[in-house]
C-alpha cells in the first residue's frame, strides 16, 4: 500500500490536535451580564477617578469649558485638541502624517465617547482620534465627554460597543507603575496627568 502524505502546515497540525483533544461540548453560561445600581452614577465615576488621581470637572457650556481649559493649562505651550470649538486655544496642529511628530505635545484635550462609573474608564477610539498614539505620547491629557454619557459598568459599556472601530481604548487615570518596591508612581510612559471634563447639555460636543 502506498501512502501519500502531504506535509501538514502548523495551522493544520494545531487545529487537528485541538479537535482530537478538546473536551465534550459545553454551553455558554446563562448569565454573563450583571447590573450595577449606583445611587448616583456620576458620583461613583468621580469617586473612582479621584482614587486614581484624576479630577472630574463639570462644564456648563462650551464657553465655560473653553474658560476652564484656558485657566487650567495657562502658560503651557504645545497644546493640541480634537475639539473644533477649542481649536483657537490650541497651538499645535494635529494635521501631520508621522505620529512621531507628536512627541513634543504637552497637553492634548480630546473628545472621547463615554465613561464607565465602576472603574472610571473613558472610551476613546479611532472615531474621534486622528492618531492612535496621541493619548499616550502627550505629557498631559484631558478628555471631554457629554455629562449624560456615563454608564454604570463594563457590561453596559460593551452594549454600546457592539461594533468597535479599528482601534479603541478604555483609559482610567494617568499612566502609572508600582514596579519599584510597590511604590505608586504616576507618569510611567503615558500621560502624567488626566482631567475629565463633563460637558453639560450637549447632544454632540
Amino acid at each position: 500500500m502506498l501512502l501519500y502524505r502531504r506535509k501538514m502546515s502548523s495551522r493544520e497540525k494545531i487545529l487537528q490536535q485541538i479537535k482530537l483533544n478538546k473536551p465534550a461540548e459545553t454551553a455558554l453560561p446563562v448569565k454573563s451580564r450583571f447590573e450595577s445600581n449606583y445611587e448616583n452614577t456620576e458620583k461613583k465615576f468621580t469617586e473612582v477617578l479621584a482614587s486614581v488621581y484624576t479630577e472630574v470637572i463639570v462644564a456648563s457650556s462650551r464657553e465655560d469649558l473653553k474658560a476652564k481649559v484656558r485657566e487650567m493649562y495657562a502658560g503651557v505651550t504645545n497644546r493640541a485638541t480634537t475639539i473644533p470649538f477649542l481649536s483657537e486655544w490650541a497651538d499645535f496642529s494635529l494635521n501631520i502624517s508621522d505620529p512621531h511628530d507628536l512627541e513634543t505635545i504637552e497637553i492634548a484635550v480630546l473628545q472621547a465617547e463615554f465613561g464607565v462609573a465602576e472603574n472610571g474608564a473613558v472610551w476613546i477610539s479611532d472615531n474621534h482620534l486622528p492618531h492612535r498614539v496621541l493619548p499616550f505620547i502627550t505629557q498631559n491629557l484631558a478628555f471631554v465627554i457629554p455629562r449624560s454619557k456615563i454608564v454604570n459598568n463594563l457590561h453596559d459599556a460593551y452594549q454600546i460597543l457592539s461594533d468597535t472601530t479599528g482601534w479603541g481604548c478604555f483609559i482610567s487615570g494617568p499612566s502609572k507603575t508600582a514596579d519599584i518596591e510597590q511604590s505608586l508612581v504616576i507618569g510611567a510612559h503615558g500621560a502624567r496627568s488626566l482631567v475629565i471634563f463633563l460637558l453639560e447639555d450637549q447632544v454632540n460636543i
Binding site: T164, F170, A178, D179
Partner: protein, 458 residues
C-alpha cells in the same frame, strides 16, 4: 546552552537565608492579596462573575478549533496577518523572519509571558536583534539579565536600593538614589527614546475575540500602546487559549482581571486592537507549544483557562516565602507549577511539590481553576512516571509500608519516641530537613494508642 536547573526546595533555601528579606517579600505580596480582597468585596456579584468566567472559558476549551478559525478569518478581514506556530522555535523564527524581511534589527517589546516561555529575547539577540523590554519591571530584570519573578510584578523580588544601583550603572542616575519617583522618571526618559526610534513593536495579548478578530492588551504604564502605535510593524503573540467567544465577554474578564491582580477596578489602559493603522503592518502569532496536549489531559486542561492575573502567587504561602525564581519556569507559583510539568515532566517534577495544598490559590482564582487539586494530581502522575527523585520515592515507599501494617507502625512509633528522648541529637541536626527553621517536638512517653488502651482497661 540551557542552564542547569536548581530544584525548588534548594533554591528556596537560598532565598530564605536572609530572614528580614523573606519577611518583606512575604508581606509585600500579602498586601497585594489584601488589595484584591477589598476590591472583590465591593462587587456583590463577584462569585457569580467568577462562575460565569469559568463557564465561558470551559466553552472556549470545548470549541477551541472553531473559535480560532473564526478569529483568524475575522482578523484577516481586518487586514491583520495571522501566523501559527507549533512550538517556541517556530514562534521565534516567525518573529525573526518578519524583522529580517523589513530590515529591522531593533525591537521594542511590552510585557509578554509568552515570549519568556519561548526564550525569545535570547534567540533574537543571538541573531543580531536588539530587544528592549518596555514595561518598567521587565526592563529592570532585563538589565539584571534575569527573568521576571512574577507575571504581573516582574521585579517584586528587588528592593529600591538594588534598582537604584542598577540604574546608576546603566542609566546614569545618581549613585545611591532610591526614590521610586526619580528612578521611574529616569526609565521614562530612557524608554521614550526607544519608543520614538524603534520601527517594530511586539506586544502580548490578554484576550483575543473570536467574533471580531480583535484583541485586547492591558497595561498600567501605557507601554504597549506607545510601542505599537509608533511602530511600522506590530507583532502580537498569543497562546491559543487567550481566545474568548464574543466581545461582550470582555465585560466579565476585564472586571475580574485587574481586581484579581492588583485590586484596581481596571488597568489604566485596556487597548482594543482590530485593524492596523494606515500604513502599518499588524501580525498575530498563535502559539501551541504544548497547549493542545494539555487540552487532552482531562485532569489538567482547566489550567488553560488562566488569564494570568497572578492572584494565586500573591496568596500562596510557598510562593511568598520562596520567590518566583525558585520555580525555574516562565510562570511561577501555583499556576506555573501545574503548567510546567506539561512542558517537561523531568525538568519540572519538583514544582507540584512546592505547595502545602492549602487551596488558597483555587479560592482566589478568577476563573475557578482547581489549582491545588491539580497540584495533587500531578504529584501522582509524576511519581507513577518515575520523575520523582529516588530519595522522595523511597520515603514515600517506606511510609506506605509503615502505615499499612499496624504492628509495624506501633513498633516504629515506640522506637522513634525512645530515640528522640534518649538521643535528641539524632533528629535535632541539620541533616534532618524537618529540623530546619523549627525545633523538634519533645517526644511523649506514650502514644495516644497506649494511653487509650491503658485508660480503657482502668
Amino acid at each position: 546552552m540551557s542552564k542547569a536547573i536548581i530544584e525548588h526546595s534548594a533554591a528556596s533555601e537560598t532565598f530564605n537565608k536572609d530572614e528580614s528579606y523573606v519577611n518583606w517579600h512575604d508581606e509585600t505580596l500579602w498586601f497585594v492579596r489584601q488589595k484584591r480582597d477589598k476590591s472583590a468585596m465591593q462587587l456583590p456579584e463577584w462569585e457569580e462573575l467568577r462562575e460565569s468566567a469559568s463557564q465561558i472559558k470551559h466553552y472556549v476549551l470545548s470549541h477551541m478549533d472553531d473559535l480560532l478559525q473564526s478569529f483568524e478569518a475575522k482578523a484577516k478581514e481586518n487586514g491583520v496577518h495571522v501566523h501559527w506556530a507549533t512550538d517556541a522555535a517556530e514562534h521565534n523564527e516567525i518573529v525573526l523572519g518578519l524583522l529580517k524581511k523589513n530590515n529591522i534589527d531593533k525591537l521594542v517589546k511590552s510585557k509578554s509571558m509568552l515570549t519568556e516561555e519561548c526564550h525569545m529575547n535570547e534567540f533574537l539577540s543571538e541573531n543580531g536583534i536588539d530587544v528592549i523590554d518596555s514595561d518598567l519591571g521587565e526592563r529592570i530584570v532585563q538589565l539584571r539579565n534575569e527573568p521576571p519573578s512574577h507575571i504581573v510584578l516582574p521585579a517584586i523580588h528587588l528592593k529600591k536600593k538594588d534598582i537604584g544601583d542598577l540604574f546608576h550603572k546603566f542609566l546614569g542616575t545618581e549613585a545611591g538614589a532610591t526614590d521610586p519617583q526619580y528612578l521611574t522618571e529616569a526609565a521614562r526618559q530612557h524608554l521614550r527614546d526607544k519608543f520614538l526610534t524603534r520601527r517594530a513593536a511586539l506586544t502580548g495579548v490578554n484576550f483575543a475575540i473570536a467574533d471580531t478578530g480583535g484583541f485586547v492588551v492591558s497595561t498600567n504604564e501605557g507601554n504597549a500602546d506607545m510601542g505599537a502605535h509608533l511602530a511600522d510593524i506590530h507583532i502580537a503573540s498569543m497562546g491559543f487559549e487567550k481566545i474568548i467567544p464574543n466581545q461582550e465577554h470582555l465585560g466579565v474578564f476585564l472586571r475580574l482581571l485587574a481586581r484579581s491582580a492588583t485590586g484596581q477596578p481596571i488597568t489604566t489602559y485596556s487597548s482594543h486592537f482590530k485593524t492596523p493603522r494606515e500604513g502599518q503592518e499588524m501580525h498575530i502569532i498563535i502559539l501551541d507549544n504544548g497547549r493542545s496536549a494539555q487540552l487532552g489531559r482531562e485532569d489538567f486542561r482547566n489550567s488553560l483557562k488562566c488569564i494570568r492575573c497572578g492572584a494565586c502567587m500573591n496568596t500562596c504561602p510557598v510562593y511568598r516565602r520562596s520567590g518566583g525564581h525558585s520555580y525555574h519556569n516562565a510562570v511561577a507559583g501555583p499556576i506555573g507549577s501545574i503548567l510546567a510539568p506539561n512542558f517537561d515532566m523531568t525538568k519540572n517534577a519538583d514544582l507540584p511539590f512546592a505547595s502545602t495544598l492549602c487551596g488558597s490559590c483555587s479560592n482566589v482564582c478568577p476563573v475557578k481553576i482547581d489549582i491545588h487539586e491539580q497540584l495533587y494530581k500531578w504529584r501522582q502522575v509524576l511519581v507513577k512516571a518515575g520523575h520523582v527523585p529516588k530519595a522522595k520515592e523511597m520515603g514515600i515507599g517506606a511510609m506506605s509500608v509503615v502505615l499499612s501494617s499496624p504492628r509495624f507502625y506501633q513498633w516504629s512509633g515506640k522506637l522513634g519516641r525512645s530515640v528522640m528522648r534518649a538521643m535528641p541529637f539524632v533528629v535535632n541536626n541539620s541533616l534532618n530537613p524537618w529540623y530546619k527553621q523549627r525545633e523538634m517536638p519533645e517526644a511523649p512517653t506514650e502514644s495516644f494508642r497506649d494511653w487509650y488502651v491503658r485508660n480503657r482497661r482502668e
